[in-house]
C-alpha cells in the first residue's frame, strides 16, 4: 500500500470538474476585488478522483472499528451503531435543510427534537433538555455554566467545584473553564467516594460536585443519596456526567439519585457512531431549579406547530451557532424508538451482565481495581502481571495481535496499570469468551 501523504500524490494538471461554470460572463477575482486582498498561489494538490478514493479507502483499511473488531474501550461505550440510523439520518429531508429556513418548512426537524427531548426526560427524570452541546465535555460546560449563573443570580458565594479523583479529565477541565477552583476528593479503597473525605472539603463555597455514576471504575456510587443530601445542604448542586449511563437505562435515573443537571453522551449510550472522535452530542438535562438558565433556543409546541423558543429568562446564551449536531440527534431518536420501553432496560442489563461476566472469568488472573460489583465496565489492575514483567501496554499489544481493540489503558489514574474493559450489550458471550481466552 502506498502510504504517502495525499500531498505527495499531487500531479499538477490532474483534476475532475465537479462544479458547473456559471452561465454569466466570468470576471477575474481582481476585477471584482482589490488586488491587495487577494492571495498568490493556492498550494493545494491536484488529484484525480481515483487517486483520492484509493488513498482514503486504503487509509480506512488501517483502522480497527466496531464493525470489524471487538472494541471494548472502557469509558467509551463502543456499542454497535445500527445501520438503519445511518440511512435515516441521511434522508434528504434531514440533510438538506438550512438552519435559518422558516420554521414552517422545518416542522419535521423541530418535531424530532421535541420528541427526542420528551423521551430523554422520561428516561432521566429531568425536566428539560438542551441539545446544543456537541460532545460530553461541551455538555459539562453548558451544565456548569448554568450552575454558575444560578449561584450568581441567587447571590450564593461559590468558588469551588468538587470532583472525585477517579473522575474523567473533562470534569476538572470544565470546572476550570467555568472559573471555578477544582477540589479533588479521594476515593476510598473500594473505589467509591469517601464520605468522610467529602464532608471535609464540603463548605459553603462549593458550587457543585461533578459525578459519574457508575464511576470510571465501573462501580455504582451506592451512597449517592447521602452525597446528594450533603451537597444540597450546603447549597451546592449535583452535576451528573452521564457518559456511563448505559447500565442504568430504565433501572434508575439521575433525578432519583438527586442530580440537578446532567449530560448524556448520545454517541455512547444512544448508539450514534463515534466517527474517529466526533461528531457526537451532549444532551444537557436540568431539573426545575435550572430551567430558566438553559441555552437558547429550545423547541416548544403551540397549536400543533413546533417553534424555537428564545425567551428563556436567564439563559446562559449559546454554545454554538444554530441548534446542535442535528444529524446525531436523528440517530439517537431512531435508536430510542427502535428499542422502546422494553429495550432500554435490556440494554442496561446486558451491558452490566457482559462486564460482570468478563470480570468473573478473569478475576483469578487479574486483580480487579475493586471488589465491589461492577456495572457496565470493569477495571483490572495488571500489577500482578507487571511483577512478572508484563505491563498493561504489553497486554494491550497482545490483544491487538488477536484482532481486537485493546481496552482503555492507564485510566483511571487511581488504578495502577489499569486496563478498563467495557464490552457493551451489543457483544455476544461468544465474543467475550474469545476475548477472555
Amino acid at each position: 500500500m502506498d502510504t504517502r501523504l495525499i500531498f505527495d500524490k499531487n500531479s499538477s494538471g490532474r483534476k475532475t470538474n465537479y462544479i458547473k461554470k456559471p452561465d454569466i460572463a466570468l470576471k477575474k477575482a481582481n476585477e471584482l476585488l482589490p488586488q491587495e486582498v487577494l492571495r498568490g498561489d493556492l498550494n493545494l494538490p491536484s488529484l484525480g478522483e481515483l487517486d483520492v478514493v484509493r488513498h482514503y479507502t486504503n487509509l480506512s483499511r488501517l483502522n480497527f472499528s466496531v464493525d470489524t473488531n471487538f472494541y471494548p474501550l472502557g469509558s467509551c461505550t463502543m456499542k454497535y451503531n445500527p445501520k438503519i440510523n445511518e440511512e435515516l439520518s441521511a434522508l434528504s429531508g434531514f440533510l438538506n435543510i438550512h438552519p435559518y429556513q422558516q420554521e414552517d418548512s422545518v416542522q419535521g426537524a423541530l418535531e424530532l427534537i421535541y420528541n427526542l427531548e420528551k423521551i430523554l426526560c422520561e428516561i432521566t427524570g429531568m425536566s428539560r433538555f438542551s441539545f446544543q452541546a456537541s460532545s460530553g465535555a461541551q455538555g459539562e460546560l453548558t451544565g456548569m455554566l448554568m450552575v454558575r449563573k444560578y449561584h450568581k443570580l441567587n447571590k450564593n458565594k461559590k468558588r469551588k467545584v468538587i470532583v472525585p479523583d477517579s473522575s474523567h479529565g473533562t470534569n476538572p477541565a470544565t470546572s476550570s473553564m467555568c472559573g471555578y477552583e477544582t477540589l479533588v476528593v479521594e476515593s476510598s479503597r473500594d473505589g467509591l467516594i469517601d464520605l468522610d473525605k467529602l464532608s471535609k472539603v464540603l463548605d459553603n463555597e462549593v458550587a457543585a460536585i461533578m459525578l459519574t455514576n457508575p464511576n470510571t471504575l465501573g462501580l455504582f456510587e451506592e451512597n449517592i443519596l447521602a452525597i446528594s443530601e450533603m451537597v444540597h445542604k450546603i447549597g451546592g448542586l449535583l452535576y451528573y456526567d452521564g457518559a456511563n449511563f448505559n447500565p442504568l437505562l430504565g433501572i434508575t435515573n439521575p433525578a432519583l439519585m438527586g442530580f440537578d443537571v446532567i449530560h448524556l453522551n448520545l454517541h455512547k449510550t444512544f448508539s450514534t457512531p463515534h466517527g474517529c472522535g466526533g461528531p457526537g452530542a451532549g444532551a444537557v438535562g436540568v431539573n426545575s431549579k435550572l430551567l430558566d438558565f438553559l441555552p437558547c433556543p429550545i423547541v416548544d409546541k403551540k397549536n400543533d406547530k413546533f417553534y424555537f423558543d428564545y425567551k428563556i429568562k436567564h439563559s446562559i446564551g449559546k454554545l454554538r451557532a444554530f441548534y446542535g449536531n442535528f444529524s446525531v440527534l436523528v440517530r439517537a431518536y431512531a435508536y430510542l424508538l427502535r428499542l422502546g420501553k422494553e429495550g432500554l432496560p435490556r440494554v442496561a442489563q446486558n451491558a452490566t451482565l457482559n462486564a460482570n461476566y468478563i470480570k468473573a472469568k478473569l478475576k483469578n488472573d487479574y486483580n480487579t481495581a475493586s471488589d465491589k460489583p461492577s456495572m457496565h465496565e470493569v477495571v483490572f489492575s495488571c500489577m500482578r502481571q507487571k511483577e512478572k514483567g508484563v505491563s498493561a501496554l504489553d497486554i494491550a499489544k497482545r490483544i491487538i495481535d488477536y484482532g481486537m481493540h485493546p481496552p482503555t489503558m492507564y485510566f483511571p489514574h487511581i488504578a495502577k496499570e489499569a486496563l478498563m474493559v467495557e464490552p457493551t450489550e451489543t457483544e455476544s458471550k461468544e465474543t467475550l469468551d474469545y476475548f477472555i481466552d
Binding site: F64, L319, K341, I400
Partner: protein, 445 residues
C-alpha cells in the same frame, strides 16, 4: 431484542459464571429508593420497518432547501458536495472507530487527520492546526481564551460584524471569567470601525477578534487592524470562511495570529446547522496554548512514517483542571470529510468554487442595483454574500416565500439598526437563471 446478542442460554451460563440467578441481581447493591420499579412511559420498540416509515414521514415534513430558490447563507453554505465524499467517510472503519488513542489500530485515522491539519495550514498559511473543534462559534471562543492565556491580559475587543451567534457563543464561554469585553461597531460601509477599535486598544487588551469576510460578506481591512493590535501587544484573531481563502490573502500574511472558523463550507451538508466542525490554526510559537487534539508525524522503528496524537500533556486527560481546554471528542469525521473534499476539488476546483461564488454574488448584486427601491449601502468588496435594504423586508420576504423563494436572512433578528436589511448569498450551485428569476419576481410582487 434488536442489537442484543446474548441468548437465553448465554444468559444462563453467564449467571452461573457470575454467581447470580437473575438480571436483577446485578443491581442488588443499588438503594431500593432510587430504583425505577415500573415500565418507562414510552412506546414499545418499533420494528425496523415501522421505524423507517416513521422517520421517512418525519423527514418529509421538512421542505428541503432545493425546493426553494434560496439565497440563504449566513454561516451555513449550500455548496456542491461531490458524490465521492460520502462513500469514503461512510467507510465503517472511519465511521465506527473511536478517537485514535491506540495508534497501532488507527494509522488511517491519524494520517487522515494529519492531512486535514495540513490542509488547514495550507489554506490559512499558519504553522499548526488542531484536529478540529465543534463549530465556528466555539472555535472563536477557544481562540479568544487562547489569546487570554498567551498574553495574560484581561480585555478583549470584538468586532460586531462577527457572526452574531459566534459572538453569543463567545460570551457564554467567557461567562465564568471576569474579562472585559468591548464590542466595536461597524461603520457605514459595513466594516469594523477602525477608529473605535483604535480607541479601545490598550495595554491590557489580549486580542482583537474580527471576521473576514465578515457577517455581511465584506472583506475586512485585516492588515490595518492587525498592525494596530500588534502595536498594542495584542493578538489578532480572524474568523474566516475557508472557501474564501482560495482567492483571499492568507490570514498569516495579514498579521493574523490565530485563525478560526466553521468548516461546513468545505463539502459539509447543511443538516439544519450541524454537525460541521470548527477549525483553529496558529503560529508555532503559540502551539502549547492550542486547545484540543493534535496529530503529529514521526517515524516508526523501520523508518516508515507513523502518526500519533501529540502534545497530549496540554490536554485534560493528563493536565486535568490545568488543561488548555476541556475538549475531548471533537468533530473528526467532519474534519476528515473536509480533507476528502479538498483533495477531490484540488487546487483548481476550490479556486473555481470560490471564483464562481464570487461572480454569481456580484452578478446578483448588479441585478439588484437595477431596482430603484433597493438600497445597497455597504462596501462592494464582498465575497459570497452582501446586504441590501428595502422598506418592510418582512412583508416582501413573505410574498417571495409564497413563490418558493427565500430571499436571504432578515437582519433585524441580529441587528436592530439594520431592520430593513437582508443578507443574501450565492454559491456555485446558483444559476444565472435562478438569479434572473428572482429579480423578475422581485419586480412583480
Amino acid at each position: 431484542m434488536p442489537y442484543i446478542l446474548n441468548t437465553e442460554k448465554d444468559t444462563r451460563e453467564m449467571f452461573g459464571a457470575i454467581g447470580i440467578s437473575s438480571l436483577d441481581d446485578l443491581y442488588r447493591h443499588l438503594p431500593g429508593s432510587i430504583r425505577i420499579n415500573k415500565n418507562l412511559n414510552l412506546p414499545s420498540g418499533l420494528s425496523e420497518q415501522e421505524l423507517r416509515n416513521c422517520l421517512t414521514a418525519l423527514a418529509a415534513k421538512n421542505k428541503t432547501i432545493n425546493k426553494f430558490n434560496s439565497f440563504l447563507g449566513a454561516g451555513s453554505y449550500n455548496h456542491y458536495i461531490p458524490a465521492a465524499i460520502n462513500p469514503i467517510i461512510s467507510r465503517t472503519e472511519f465511521l465506527t472507530a473511536y478517537t485514535p488513542y491506540q495508534a497501532e489500530c488507527s494509522q488511517g485515522i491519524l494520517q487522515a487527520i494529519y492531512e486535514y491539519q495540513s490542509y488547514v495550514c495550507l489554506l490559512t498559511g499558519m504553522d499548526v492546526s488542531n484536529a478540529s473543534l465543534f463549530d465556528g462559534g466555539s472555535s472563536l471562543a477557544e481562540s479568544v481564551l487562547m489569546s487570554l492565556r498567551i498574553t495574560k491580559r484581561n480585555k478583549i475587543i470584538i468586532s460586531s460584524s462577527i457572526h452574531p451567534e459566534y459572538k453569543k457563543t463567545l460570551y457564554t464561554y467567557l461567562s465564568g471569567f471576569n474579562f472585559k469585553v468591548q464590542e466595536v461597531n461597524f461603520e457605514s460601509q459595513g466594516l469594523t470601525d477602525i477608529n473605535l477599535l483604535k480607541a479601545g486598544l490598550d495595554d491590557d487588551t489580549a486580542c482583537v477578534a474580527l471576521q473576514s469576510p465578515n457577517f455581511f460578506g465584506i472583506i475586512e481591512m485585516t492588515e490595518k487592524i492587525s498592525s494596530l493590535a500588534k502595536e498594542n501587544g495584542a493578538l489578532t484573531i480572524q474568523v474566516t470562511n475557508p472557501v474564501s481563502l482560495a482567492i483571499l490573502k492568507e490570514p498569516v500574511r495579514q498579521g493574523v495570529d490565530i485563525v478560526c472558523g466553521d468548516g461546513q463550507a468545505l463539502g459539509g451538508h447543511l443538516s439544519f446547522g450541524g454537525p460541521s466542525f470548527g477549525f483553529i490554526a496558529t503560529k508555532n510559537e503559540f502551539l502549547r496554548q492550542l486547545p484540543g487534539r493534535i496529530v503529529g508525524k514521526s517515524t516508526d522503528k523501520e523508518g516508515k512514517p507513523a502518526y500519533c496524537l501529540t502534545m497530549q500533556a496540554r490536554e485534560q486527560h493528563i493536565k486535568r483542571e490545568k488543561a488548555t481546554s476541556n475538549i475531548c471528542s471533537n468533530q473528526s469525521l467532519n474534519a476528515i470529510s473536509a480533507a476528502v473534499y479538498l483533495s477531490l476539488l484540488g487546487k483548481e476546483g476550490l479556486y473555481n468554487c470560490a471564483l464562481y461564488s464570487l461572480n454569481l454574488t456580484h452578478y446578483f448584486y448588479a441585478r439588484l442595483s437595477e431596482i430603484k427601491s433597493i438600497k445597497l449601502n455597504f462596501s462592494k468588496h464582498f465575497f459570497n454574500e452582501f446586504v441590501w435594504s428595502v422598506d418592510n423586508p418582512k412583508a416582501l420576504m413573505k410574498k417571495l416565500y409564497k413563490k418558493e423563494i427565500i430571499a436571504g436572512l432578515a437582519l433585524d433578528r441580529f441587528y436592530p439598526e439594520l431592520k430593513n436589511g437582508i443578507l443574501s448569498c450565492c454559491t456555485e450551485v446558483k444559476s444565472k437563471e435562478q438569479i434572473d428569476d428572482f429579480i423578475e419576481k422581485l419586480k412583480t410582487v
